[in-house]
């Protein structure tokens, strides 16, 4: 069965924006072809409690996993320790922490099913798009990670562009 939905919004509707500040962005470069080390590190991480705001990753051609973890400033450590303990001598295993960072996220109806939402967002962001540390558009959510002091300016631009029903 196919349902055809007609959307035409000169100003795309969102349910509203949320900003979280004083977070830490952990960036890991992990060679996952060292499977024994990787497996044990994951086991240690799984056994420790932790929470994240955003996680995303990419596996490149040389089997390096670039993993981004956005969380509270101290929470990334329990993720880092097992990786560093299990793979301290593996060449190419790197970690970078950027803190504090800011996080702006929003969602809207069928964002993931409609063309033009990402284009509209980047046009709205204007120069703030160059400040981004990371971005994820997945399902009906849009997540933007920005350096300290940048989220309010980006929020103003998005507020002016998107329609937020009262």
């Amino acid at each position: 069965m196919e349902t055809v939905a007609m959307y035409w919004e000169p100003r795309i509707k969102t349910y509203g924006f949320q900003v979280v500040k004083e977070l830490a962005l952990y960036r890991y470069q992990i060679p996952v072809n060292r499977s024994n080390h990787w497996e044990h590190a994951l086991e240690c991480i799984e056994n420790g409690p932790n929470r994240f705001h955003l996680i995303c990753g990419q596996l490149n051609e040389s089997l390096d996993l670039s993993l981004l973890l956005l969380c509270g400033p101290d929470r990334g450590r329990s993720f880092s320790r097992p990786i560093e303990a299990e793979m301290p001598i593996v060449e190419g295993c790197r970690r970078q922490v950027i803190t504090p960072v800011e996080f702006l996220f929003f969602q809207g109806p069928h964002f993931g099913d409609r063309f033009g939402v990402a284009d509209f967002t980047y046009r709205a962001l204007k120069d703030h798009a160059n400040d981004l540390l990371a971005a994820v558009f997945s399902c009906a959510s849009i997540y933007l990670v920005l350096p300290e002091g940048s989220a309010d300016g980006a929020l103003d631009q998005l507020n002016a562009a998107f329609n937020i029903p009262s």
């Binding site: 069965m1 196919e2 349902t3 055809v4 939905a5 007609m6 959307y7 035409w8 960036r27 996952v32 499977s35 990787w38 497996e39 994951l42 086991e43 991480i45 799984e46 420790g48 409690p49 932790n50 929470r51 994240f52 705001h53 955003l54 996680i55 995303c56 990753g57 990419q58 596996l59 996993l65 670039s66 981004l68 993720f79 970078q96 996220f105 969602q107 069928h110 993931g112 099913d113 409609r114 063309f115 033009g116 990402a118 284009d119 509209f120 980047y122 046009r123 798009a129 160059n130 981004l132 540390l133 990371a134 971005a135 994820v136 558009f137 997945s138 399902c139 009906a140 959510s141 997540y143």
Partner: protein
């Protein structure tokens, strides 16, 4: 013994093509322009992920498999894009929800996939879901793997979308009764 983690569901997408944009610096960040080109041809991007770091910007997104040829044609026609884009055809999205903001859940799912040699090309969380970009041929097997390591609510099975939302810019008149 592993603690049991309950999830509410697993969703499998249709066939997609993964598009990666390479070697951008903040001055040559190509994704906004790429999104503009795609929007101009009414091509949806159901998944986008970017990582901006000192050595460059990694950007990846998905288009429906049926739009791969048109996407390549549009990219090749644009001097700013040509030569900076690569394609991995025959991928799909496996989404599990909710992720509960839990690293434990994330790691358990990633372990299950990596242990069984499922190639994870991309992954990202959204507000409630965790989405993996995998080889399309491995989607069903990967869904079964995840099903076996989480407790699914009720008799829930991995599902594919039962309807497709198509967006148009012109309202078609309703047939007269």
């Amino acid at each position: 013994m592993m603690t049991e983690i309950q999830i509410n569901g697993l969703k499998i997408s249709g066939a997609l093509c993964l598009v990666r944009l390479h070697h951008s610096t903040p001055d040559t960040f190509r994704l906004p322009a790429f999104c503009g080109i795609m929007a101009g041809s009414q091509i949806n991007l159901p998944f986008i992920s970017t990582d901006h770091h000192s050595s460059g910007i990694q950007a990846a997104c998905c288009v429906e498999a049926k739009h791969q040829m048109l996407t390549q044609k549009l990219v090749d026609a644009d001097p700013m894009m040509k030569g900076h884009v690569s394609y991995i055809p025959d991928v799909g999205l496996l989404t599990l929800f909710p992720h509960q903001s839990s690293l434990k859940l994330f790691v358990r799912s990633l372990r299950a996939l990596s242990t069984e040699s499922v190639r994870v090309l991309e992954m990202a969380s959204s507000i409630g879901a965790l989405t993996y970009v995998l080889d399309y041929a491995q989607l069903d097997a990967a869904a079964e793997l995840l099903r076996s390591c989480f407790k699914l609510d009720g008799n829930h099975s991995p599902f594919r979308a039962e309807f497709v939302v198509r967006q148009g810019t012109q309202l078609k008149p309703e047939p007269m009764e």
